[in-house]
Structures are given as structure tokens and as C-alpha cells.
């Protein structure tokens, strides 16, 4: 019997996810911690460094398929992207283009740019975006998994939406500005970052699935993420992997429609009702599989 702690994606560290999500013993790391490539900026600020700069990259097998993978460690500076961290992501993505694996999986858990590293971190994130699109242009699908405690925010939220598909758990969160940033910038009347139910209604996996931003919603288990990642890899082969003009225009149409229909809505539950969910107040308490069954007919952006 596997305990909750052993099966939970949320509770696992980045390295535990790599060990448990992929075929046993298959993960081969590029630039492992023993290489000691650490942030050059944090030391100057007299701050602790990590030997992997908060991300592990490499290749692995997923049910026999060869995949390239990155896993961000939310426990180190909230998974934030510094210069080395970003360079590792970009290097892995560029190597994927050379070696043509079956897919690239991004296990994202991050607050976005590591502000200690300022411009170097911002540039790194923009390079990651470009590299993701280059991988897709090479015909290799990129799948993002979002289910860590720190969510996926800032520039890395944009990176997630540059992929072919996003798999989320209910506990996962995805957005541009995080709750505290919105509250700080616009006031607690605009957004109360301490209202955890509101935070999850606004950024959580179920809301993202209902809006069509996430393509799969799974329970918080490593096995469920594994199965969903496999399904998304297989589904990717039936659609254009590269970002096409038609896909971009369809996405813009979806966003325009969303803004026109729901731009005035103040509360996510109102939006859920407006798209046709008859009992929106019941959604937050539903198990993932029941939820998916209930909303699949009405969720936006279903392809």
C-alpha cells in the first residue's frame, strides 16, 4: 500500500517527482548537483545557493518513450528562475531539438523570475519562451505539469501557456501575477491574498480547466500526472505540434470572447454559472474525476 505522502505530487520534491513519475531509474541528469554550477548572483548578495540552482534537467523514459524533462524545486527560493536556472532550461530545450525525443515535459513549480538576479532572470525567462516555441517548431510536443505548492506564476506562467498542453491538479495554480502581487499593487479590496478559497477559485486547476487554459485536470497523485502526461503526448500527434497562425488566431478569439463575456464578472463562481455549470458552489469539493465528468460538456476551449 502506497501512502498519501509517497503518491502525492504536491508533497514531493522536484527530485522525488523525477524518480517516481518516470520509468524507474531512467532519469539521466544533465549538469547534476556534483557539477556545482551555482548562481553567480546569490553569492554576491551573501545569500545561500543550491548546487542545482533549483532545477534538475535531463532525459528519462516514460512508458518506454524517450522524453526530455525539467523539474523545478519550489522549496528553493520558490522555484524562481535565475540566470543559471534559466540557462539550464534553455540548454535542455535546445538539446531536445538536436536529439529529437518523443516529447519534452516541464514540471513547473515557480514564482517566476528570481528578482535577486533582476535582468539576468528576466532575459532567462524570455529565452525559455523562445526555446519552447523552437522545440514545438521542430515537431516535438512540450507538456507542462503544474501541481506543486508554489503554483506557476509570472513569466513562467506565460511559458506554461506556450506549451502544447498543461496538466494540472486542483491544488496547482497558474497565473501571471500572484495573489500577493495583485494585493500589493491594487489593494486588498481588489484581491484578498489571504482568502485561500478565492485564490484557488481564481488561479487553481479547476478554474483553469473550466476556462480552457489547462487541457487536463487530475487528482493530486504522481500516477495521475504520469497517465495524463502520456495521454497528452499521444494526443499531440493528432494535431499540429508547432504553433500555427491558425492556432494563435483561435486562441486570440477565445480570449477576446472570454473578455467580452466575463470581463465584468467579479467572482469566478459567477463565471462558472455563466458558462453553464448548474451548481457552481459544488465544484470546489468534487474529486477530480467527478469534476471532469461534470464540466466537460461546458468548459471553454475544449478541443
Amino acid at each position: 500500500m502506497i501512502s498519501y505522502l509517497e503518491s502525492s505530487y504536491l508533497e514531493a520534491t522536484a527530485r522525488e517527482r523525477l524518480q517516481r513519475l518516470f520509468d524507474p531509474g531512467s532519469f539521466q541528469e544533465f549538469l547534476p548537483p556534483s557539477a556545482r554550477v551555482v548562481s553567480p548572483h546569490l553569492g554576491q548578495l551573501n545569500a545561500p545557493v543550491a548546487f542545482d540552482d533549483g532545477v534538475a534537467v535531463g532525459r528519462a523514459q516514460l512508458a518506454g518513450r524517450t522524453v526530455f524533462v525539467a523539474a523545478q524545486e519550489g522549496g528553493f527560493m520558490g522555484g524562481a528562475v535565475g540566470e543559471v536556472h534559466g540557462a539550464k532550461l534553455v540548454g535542455m530545450l535546445r538539446r531536445a531539438i538536436d536529439e529529437a525525443p518523443d516529447a519534452v515535459l516541464l514540471l513547473l513549480e515557480t514564482g517566476g523570475v528570481r528578482l535577486h538576479e533582476a535582468n539576468a532572470g528576466l532575459i532567462a525567462v524570455s529565452e525559455v519562451m523562445r526555446a519552447v516555441l523552437d522545440v514545438r517548431a521542430a515537431g516535438i510536443p512540450v507538456i507542462a505539469l503544474v501541481g506543486g505548492a508554489n503554483g506557476c506564476f509570472g513569466g513562467m506562467g506565460i511559458v506554461a501557456r506556450c506549451t502544447n498542453a498543461i496538466v494540472m491538479s486542483e491544488e496547482g495554480r497558474l497565473a501571471m501575477s500572484g495573489p500577493e502581487v495583485i494585493e500589493t499593487a491594487s489593494g486588498v479590496e481588489e484581491f484578498d491574498a489571504r482568502d485561500r478559497a478565492l485564490v484557488w477559485r481564481t488561479t487553481g486547476g479547476k478554474h483553469r480547466y473550466l476556462l480552457g487554459d489547462a487541457q487536463a485536470l487530475v487528482a493530486d497523485s504522481i500516477d495521475a500526472f504520469r497517465a495524463a502526461a502520456l495521454a497528452q503526448i499521444d494526443a499531440a500527434s493528432s494535431r499540429p505540434v508547432a504553433l500555427t497562425l491558425a492556432a494563435l488566431e483561435a486562441e486570440h478569439a477565445l480570449l477576446t470572447d472570454r473578455y467580452e463575456r466575463f470581463g465584468h464578472v467579479r467572482e469566478p463562481m459567477e463565471l462558472w454559472r455563466a458558462i453553464g455549470v448548474t451548481d457552481p458552489e459544488a465544484l470546489p469539493l468534487m474529486e477530480a474525476d467527478v469534476f471532469v465528468e461534470r464540466v466537460d460538456a461546458v468548459r471553454l476551449g475544449a478541443r
Binding site: 548537483p33 556534483s34 545569500a47 545561500p48 545557493v49 542545482d52 522549496g75
Partner: protein, 103 residues
Amino acid sequence: MEHLTYVFKGGTRTLARQADVVGVVGSGNLEVLIESAPLEGDCSIAIATAAEGFGAIWEAVMTDFQARWQLRDARIAINDMGATPAVVSLRLDQAVETMLEAR
């Protein structure tokens, strides 16, 4: 940041070749990078810690650790963000156990 180094001689237990890392550099936590290295029998431990002024406690915890495991030709590096002595000992034991399992 404070940097501390301890070198222990006379250990008897060698480790698997492969390097391993356990733990995460988060608040009250630390990461331990452990690897076997040709150090003429020494066990070398290098610590970078955000909590300054605790050298005496680190020395006691490291001495206890080496007394438990008697490592030789081992290099250990620690990035610490204010872990308590109990957490430090736990992570060090995890690191050694991971290396012994890999053999």
C-alpha cells in the same frame, strides 16, 4: 554567510562512486551533496550556512556524524538555510544511506 570546513581522518567506510544530493535549500532546511573522492582516507565536510556564529554546534554535529559512519575518501558539501542540528543530522544520515543503497 559563514563557511566552515571540517576534515576527519581514520574513517573505514567507503561510499559508492556516484554522487548524490538530498534535501532542499529552503527555510530551516539544507541540502547535502555527498560523493566519494580520493582524499587519502579523509572525510571532508564543507558547510555554507546562512546562520552565522554557530561553529561550535556544527563541529559537534559533524563529529557525532563521523563517529556514527566512519567515512573515508568522502567529500560532503552542505548548503544550509538555518536548519536545526536535528535536521542536519537527519539529512546527513539520509545522504549516507542513499549512497550505501546505491552500491
